[in-house]
């Protein structure tokens, strides 16, 4: 317990300290890397609610990541071209305001998660993995073949979206925004795990029969978890698109789903700060090893294999040991 808290504090400080140091040394690229790590960690925190707490191995979280990205892309593209999204029956215009974009991203991905979850949660095990993968791929091919928003080429946004009272063009400010969102969501996810809902959801992962026999429906618990999980990953998608000022079908690809899952597994499935550790390590490896070799994924794969075989609790499990029940 004590040790995991220490690890969590370290991980929590790691990103802002990195960003501030990079600022002091005038290395804006490092700030961007820290921002990317924070946003990918956020996507992983979303998946971890379904995967870690609920035991739902979703291989389709790219669907929500991409929907969040396209929510940003579509709203901002209409705003920068001064064309409304639709005029009848009522007028909907684009926007460059981050809070509105986030809200739309959350709502759209939550609705998609409700639909996908309602259908896929009737299956389990490998079928659940396949059904979620199929939904992700459906959206991937749809985004490629829909010409209105760039199709295969994706959508470019020329200027980063705005946040009231802040200059989002400053890399450090944008990092602060992304990190603040991550911190808030971590706070929420931490409370969720200890709340009545978290107790029941995690019990349904351990033993669904037990949960049914105390009068709780595992399907309902899992569906709500899947919706919350999708909404968080969707929010991360909107931020990720804003970081790159670019959205493309790649965000919907199954490789993206796999990467989000890698963050969670590397860091520690079901551990609150697991995705933070996983995403930070991923970015570090991508930067360091990617500079040495184009084929750095081989090393990533080797590392992942080691974690899965020898350190089931991921990095956090390795350092902090078995999870302690919080009474």
């Amino acid at each position: 317990m004590m040790r995991e808290t220490l690890v969590n504090v370290f991980l929590f400080l790691l990103l802002p300290v990195t960003a501030l140091a990079a600022f002091a040394l005038d290395e804006p690229f490092i700030i961007t890397l820290a921002t990317k790590a924070a946003i990918l960690a956020l996507a992983g925190v979303g998946l971890n609610i379904a995967l870690g707490l609920g035991g739902l191995v979703s291989f389709g979280h790219a669907a929500f990541f991409g929907l969040g990205g396209y929510a940003m892309g579509i709203l901002a593209a209409h705003a920068q071209s001064y064309t409304p999204i639709m005029e009848s029956p009522f007028l909907i215009e684009g926007t460059k305001s981050m809070p509105i974009i986030w809200l739309v991203a959350i709502v759209v991905s939550a609705l998609a998660a409700l639909l996908i979850g309602a259908l896929s949660l009737r299956t389990s095990g490998v079928y659940f993995i396949m059904v979620t993968l199929a939904f992700g791929q459906m959206l991937f091919y749809f985004s490629i073949s829909w010409p209105a928003y760039g199709g295969e080429d994706g959508l470019s946004i020329y200027v980063r979206n705005g946040f009231p009272g802040l200059n989002t063009l400053n890399p450090l400010t944008f990092f602060a925004i992304a990190f603040a969102v991550l911190a808030l969501v971590l706070l929420f996810a931490g409370r969720l795990a200890r709340a009545p809902f978290g107790l029941a959801l995690s019990a349904a992962r351990q033993n669904a029969e037990r949960v049914e026999s105390v009068g709780l429906a595992p399907f309902r618990l899992r569906l709500v978890a899947f919706v919350i999980s999708g909404a968080v990953t969707g929010l991360a998608g909107a931020l990720f698109a804003d970081l790159n000022r670019f959205v493309s079908p790649t965000m919907f690809s199954w490789q993206t789903s796999g990467e989000i899952m890698i963050f969670v597994i590397l860091g520690g499935v079901g551990r609150l700060f697991g995705p933070v550790a996983g995403a930070a390590l991923f970015i570090l490896l991508e930067h360091v090893l990617g500079g040495l070799s184009e084929f750095w994924h081989i090393y990533l794969g080797f590392l992942l294999l080691m974690v899965v075989l020898f350190a089931r609790g991921g990095m956090i499990g390795l350092i902090a040991g078995r999870e302690v029940a919080h009474d």
Partner: protein, 255 residues
């Protein structure tokens, strides 16, 4: 036939279930009155597990009905039947193994409270749920082990926890599937003494292989063979029943 409807807490009427040509449950009726322990015995393969699933939910009957406290629960799911007042324990302990003993009991209390869609307040700090969970743990004698991880419990303690979780549901009826399974002689005696007192809380439909326990506890005994109830009565009546002796108590030669 003479039983008054109002007296009966669990009323199983004319249940049938066939798997192909096999009649797993063949016109079974069984009742449970307040304060009693009704034991259901029968040789392996008699259809006890099938019958339990039909009563608890999880397996649809071909025909017949199940009533709890006057409410027809036949169309209801396992979850809804638990909410309607069925406290079930499993033959093989079915617990959340990563949780502490207390967390398992709190889970039961939480299910009973119905307030599960709460996303912020820590559940283990909720005094009412904790108190209800501790009451159940004290009753079964597990209060001292409340902070232990469930996977670290002995087999006997898991059996006790199984009963404690059922207790937190404040059920109208207990449905217990071999609570003595795997307990040693002393564990069995302890559990027998405990169940004896439990009948005041709610009546128990007890499926059990341990004949000492059955004869010590049961107000009534029903004998299930090949999906049919071949005899029903007090311990003395069952012991004397020639059909039971042949079919179940293994005294073919004597008969």
């Amino acid at each position: 036939m003479t039983e008054q409807m109002t007296d009966v807490l669990l009323d199983v009427r004319n249940l049938h279930k066939s798997f192909g040509a096999l009649k797993a449950t063949d016109d079974v009726s069984i009742t449970l009155r307040p304060g009693e322990i009704h034991a259901l015995i029968g040789p392996n393969g008699a259809g006890k597990s099938t019958l339990i699933k039909q009563i608890a939910g999880g397996l649809r009957s071909d025909s017949g009905s199940v009533h709890f406290a006057g409410q027809d629960v036949t169309p209801l799911s396992t979850v809804q039947r638990a909410r309607a007042g069925l406290g079930r324990t499993f033959q093989i302990s079915s617990l959340a193994m990563e949780y502490t003993v207390l967390q398992n009991a709190v889970l039961g209390a939480l299910g009973q409270s119905g307030r599960v869609m709460r996303f912020f307040a820590p559940v283990m700090r909720q005094a009412a749920l904790r108190a209800e969970a501790m009451r159940a743990l004290e009753l079964v004698g597990l209060a001292d082990h409340a902070a232990k991880r469930t996977s670290d419990l002995s087999h006997g303690q898991r059996r006790q926890l199984e009963v404690a979780v059922a207790l937190t549901l404040r059920p109208k009826v207990f449905l217990m599937d071999e609570p003595m399974a795997g307990l040693g002689a002393s564990g069995s005696r302890e559990m027998t003494g405990f169940l004896d007192g439990l009948r005041a809380e709610a009546p128990i439909l007890l499926v059990e292989h341990d004949m000492d326990a059955v004869f010590a506890l049961a107000d009534r005994i029903s004998v299930l063979v090949y999906g049919r109830i071949i005899a029903s009565g007090t311990a003395a009546e069952i012991k004397a029943d020639p059909q039971v002796r042949v079919a179940y108590l293994g005294e073919e030669d004597a008969a």
